[in-house]
Symmetry: C2
Subunit: 189 residues, 2 copies
DNA sequence: CCTTTCCGCTACGCATCCGTAGCGTTATGC
DNA sequence: GCATAACGCTACGGATGCGTAGCGGAAAGG
């Protein structure tokens, strides 16, 4: 979508996407109807249809609007990097609405190829960071040669999401640190 | 719900719940409407309303009908037990429709307390098994004293689900074994 | 057998959402 | 200033799903 210079367009898009995100969290994908977005955002339904083809395109755009790949912390040590990344993820997943959005996206992606594509691209961004971090760790001999970054990612991100959905146990920074230390022990340098 | 002796009732319930599960996989929670279930199952809509209060109750019942807690493998070794459990989970998640159902349930549970309750009870069943397996492992000195079973569960189940949703990489038995061995290394006996 | 219970069918009224048309109004950008 | 582009509003027709009513037929089960 073109960046748009006209402030009216920018206002409209921001209001609509923001409202859509709120509705996605509150009511899920199916509950995020064009009508509901129009009513809550104050933007007329006809205007929404001037910008998006329909509900599916709007929801896709709303999901896409929150893509914010984490930065490479580069703290100097592998443990520092991983703790930074995992606590960031834990914060996002436990505090903000990010978790509900993530689950909604994962579920919807099972049935919509475009959402699946979006989800994979987002995951790939996380993967790229982890790959760099792991490779630096290998370079500093903090990890054995041949360590699979994808496996490390699974071992760190997986438990965060699983714990958040399942046990209802807190996913806080303490847990994040414990998790990193536990996983690192599985890779004797 | 009472077990029901009348074969007509049993037939109806089975047909409806089976169809509902199929629709949950194909179209998600929102797409599993009473009308769609009626049409596909051949059971009249009015009959469905004679058995369930509405869409929410039907979906809840459909989810509940697949609860099948894994058995305690009790192979004699910790590794054997964990490999059995994790390969079972990997199979279910990668082959069957279980994964789509699980994601749909997780997402819907974010907004429906009754589904959240169901989800937690199901998770608790898995947790109970892991707890026993871990405790036996501690008893045989295969795990350090004080090992947290919940953490082990997170480390094993989390990556399975995460990998299935994210990278699209295969979640097969080989991965399951690798995962178990990796995690076990994090707990020096 | 014969009563009870369950089921299928048709036909509703109601609500929600879709996506579009047309027209006036207002904010932008030149 | 002025033409243009964007927006709000009302009003549709169509589709889908909800949940209910009432009836007749058929299958249980005693």
């Amino acid at each position: 979508m073109t960046p748009a210079t006209d402030p009216r367009i920018r206002r409209t898009r921001a209001a609509v996407l923001g409202t859509a995100l709120g509705l996605l969290v509150e009511r899920g994908v199916a509950g995020t109807t064009v009508e509901a977005v129009a009513e809550r955002s104050g933007v007329a339904k006809t205007t929404i249809y001037r910008h998006w083809d329909g509900q599916a395109a709007l929801v896709l755009d709303a999901f896409a609007s929150v893509r914010r790949p984490p930065e490479d912390p580069d703290t100097g040590t592998l443990r520092g990097d991983l703790v930074a990344l995992v606590t960031g993820l834990a914060d996002a997943v436990s505090r903000g609405p990010a978790a509900a959005l993530w689950f909604a996206l994962v579920d919807a992606a099972e049935r919509d190829p475009r959402l699946a594509d979006l989800h994979h691209r987002e995951a790939e961004a996380r993967h790229a960071i982890i790959r760099r971090v792991v490779e630096r760790g290998v370079g500093r001999a903090e990890l054995p040669r041949g360590t699979d970054p994808a496996e490390v990612l699974d071992l760190l991100a997986g438990p965060i999401f699983y714990r958040r959905t399942t046990s209802g146990a807190p996913v806080d920074r303490r847990y994040a640190e414990r998790l990193v230390d536990r996983v690192l022990r599985a890779y004797p340098a």
